[in-house]
């Protein structure tokens, strides 16, 4: 009985983790010239359709690893495309020499570090990780 209770608690915890709603946000460094962006503007930057922020300054997107939970959520919310669809999209761009997918960095800490040091970069992380060194440009 005691074991069953333990299992139930563990199960509830796992379930809570599984369904916990991660709130991904698009962010830039605090020194970035970028202000609030629309979903389409962010999607255009991450799909390589534009290389600039609306004010004309250079915009360089950076990606989290394929395995990250934020990556899937971010792209689903901003572009409406799944991982496989994005891979098809980038295959078309890469093999026709038209462009390359955003550079991948190992994780949220690395994204944060890079955004703080380079105002041209734009990334996405969980809302809970945002502090004064970053600016939220879109909550998709």
């Amino acid at each position: 009985m005691k074991n069953l209770k333990k299992i139930t608690v563990l199960g509830a915890l796992l379930l809570a983790v599984g369904t916990a709603h991660a709130d991904v946000v698009a962010v830039v460094g605090a020194k970035s010239p970028a202000g609030a962006l629309t979903k389409d503007q962010v999607a255009d930057i991450f799909l390589g359709k534009t290389g600039t922020f609306p004010d004309g300054s250079q915009a360089v997107p950076i990606d989290q690893p394929q395995s990250s939970a934020q990556r899937e959520e971010f792209y689903t919310k901003t572009t409406g495309r799944s991982g496989a669809q994005l891979k098809s999209y980038w295959a078309k761009q890469v093999f026709s020499g038209k462009g390359a997918a955003p550079k991948e960095v190992p994780g949220e800490d690395e994204v944060k570090k890079l955004l703080i040091s380079n105002p041209n970069l734009i990334g996405y992380i969980d809302k809970s990780r945002v502090d004064a060194s970053l600016k939220i440009v879109l909550t998709p």
Binding site: Q66, A91, F95, G97
Partner: protein, 420 residues
């Protein structure tokens, strides 16, 4: 099977779990794509192949063939500065000479004149069709292979030349204006020769707004049939008639053996993709020395999780003359000897004739770099008003019985596509 070893061995190298573009140095990267695919035909009288440049296919040579779809490509990109880049891509697939030896499809230097204008010089794939750029990258497309009736209209995969890519934005519309110029050569199967295509001048125009893309293209060129064996014997056979006083035979030498003959291709296409549903269609018209081909397709499908079922209808119709008779060609007198007319007719019917295909298939995304597809094609060939020899459609190596009349052929294909 032995010929496949190269492609498969290379494919084996990349089937590891970590498939992503490999960065060799900060500004140098290598990426690749490929397909391992098998096609099975229920007809042993002719070979099905995606274009007339394939030496064999599925059907007569062997009922199951890896030739039509299996391929492997590797691309190297070097970007020494933010405005200058070099791209080279080698592709291994079943070529006309029956070998899988890799050929260079792309090898160009690209310079960004402005953020909206690129110029590319070297070996490039001319933007003849909507999917020209990545026609061999099956992973990027929903189907096992691009609709072959339309995509075999002009069998030129690459040319040596120059193109400009100008991408202005017009409000919500992203435009692409892409003129190109160069020369190409289509190698014909079984070492019969080649078709040099010189003086290529073309333009590709497209506009995208949201999920919708519209494109149009036009290309003009000069084509020559360079088949030392058959051209010479054909010319000498007509010359015999010419010397005997048959003016039709004299005219046939220049009319039926294209030498710098004008070859044009115009096309229109549209596509819609809202991530859940997609549909596309293209139509093209090829006009050569004595053929007038109209080809088109429509396709659509839906994405349901990892599954992407789709349906396609493709059609190719050659409205060029199929009989060398009085008055068929301008400038050729009405009276030809029966032997001249029979020979002329045999040349005309050797060109691809009418074929239609209904395809149903499904793609399953095994992983983000790996797709498994299966497709059923029902191919119908239609002879020209009962004329024997015109019933083979776009099939290769057909028997006399196959090309004598109409045919219905069923194909089942299975393929595994990957990118890295």
């Amino acid at each position: 099977m032995k010929k496949l070893t190269f492609a498969m061995a290379l494919a084996g190298l990349v089937s590891g779990p970590a498939m992503a573009a490999i960065e060799l140095a900060p500004d140098l990267s290598v990426s690749g794509f490929g397909t391992i695919g098998a096609v099975h035909s229920n007809n042993n009288q002719a070979d099905y192949a995606p274009s007339v440049l394939y030496p064999t296919g599925a059907g007569r040579t062997s009922s199951t063939s890896y030739g039509p779809d299996t391929k492997f490509g590797v691309q190297l990109e070097w970007k020494p500065t933010s405005r200058l880049s070099f791209v080279t891509q080698a592709l291994s697939k079943q070529y006309a000479n029956n070998s899988y030896s890799p050929q260079i499809e792309w090898a160009y230097g690209k310079f960004a004149v402005t953020s909206e204008l690129d110029v590319r010089v070297g070996r490039i794939r001319p933007a003849i069709y909507m999917l020209s750029d990545y026609l061999d990258v099956n992973y990027a497309n929903p189907w096992v292979r691009a609709p072959s009736e339309f995509y075999s209209s002009l069998s030129v995969s690459h040319m040596d030349g120059i193109d400009l890519m100008w991408r202005p934005k017009l409000g919500p519309v992203s435009l692409l204006v892409q003129p190109y110029a160069g020369h190409a050569k289509a190698i014909l199967p079984q070492s019969t020769g080649s078709i040099p295509i010189d003086g290529i001048l073309g333009i590709n125009l497209s506009g995208s707004m949201g999920d919708f893309t519209l494109r149009g293209g036009y290309l003009q060129s000069k084509a020559t049939l360079d088949t030392p064996g058959s051209t010479a014997s054909l010319a000498s056979a007509f010359a015999v008639g010419c010397r005997a006083g048959d003016q039709a035979a004299c005219g046939a030498i220049t009319t039926l053996i294209p030498n710098q003959a004008k070859l044009t291709f115009s096309s229109l296409g549209a596509s819609y993709d809202n991530s859940k549903y997609f549909a596309s269609g293209e139509i093209g018209k090829r006009n050569g020395a004595f053929d007038a081909l109209t080809s088109w397709y429509v396709s659509g499908g839906t994405r349901i999780g990892k599954w992407t079922p789709y349906a396609t209808y493709g059609s190719s119709k050659n409205n060029g003359p199929t009989q060398f008779t009085a008055g068929t060609f301008a400038g050729i007198p009405a009276f030809g000897l029966p032997s001249t007319n029979a020979l002329g007719t045999s040349v005309l019917v050797a060109y691809g004739m009418d074929q239609h295909t209904v395809s149903l298939g499904v793609r399953y995304d095994l992983a983000t770099n790996l797709a498994l597809k299966t497709q059923w094609d029902h191919v119908t060939t239609v002879p020209k008003s009962g004329q024997a020899g015109t019933g083979a459609g776009l099939f290769r190596n057909s028997t006399t019985a196959f090309s004598a009349g109409a045919n219905n052929v069923d194909l089942i294909s299975v393929s595994l596509d990957f990118v890295f």
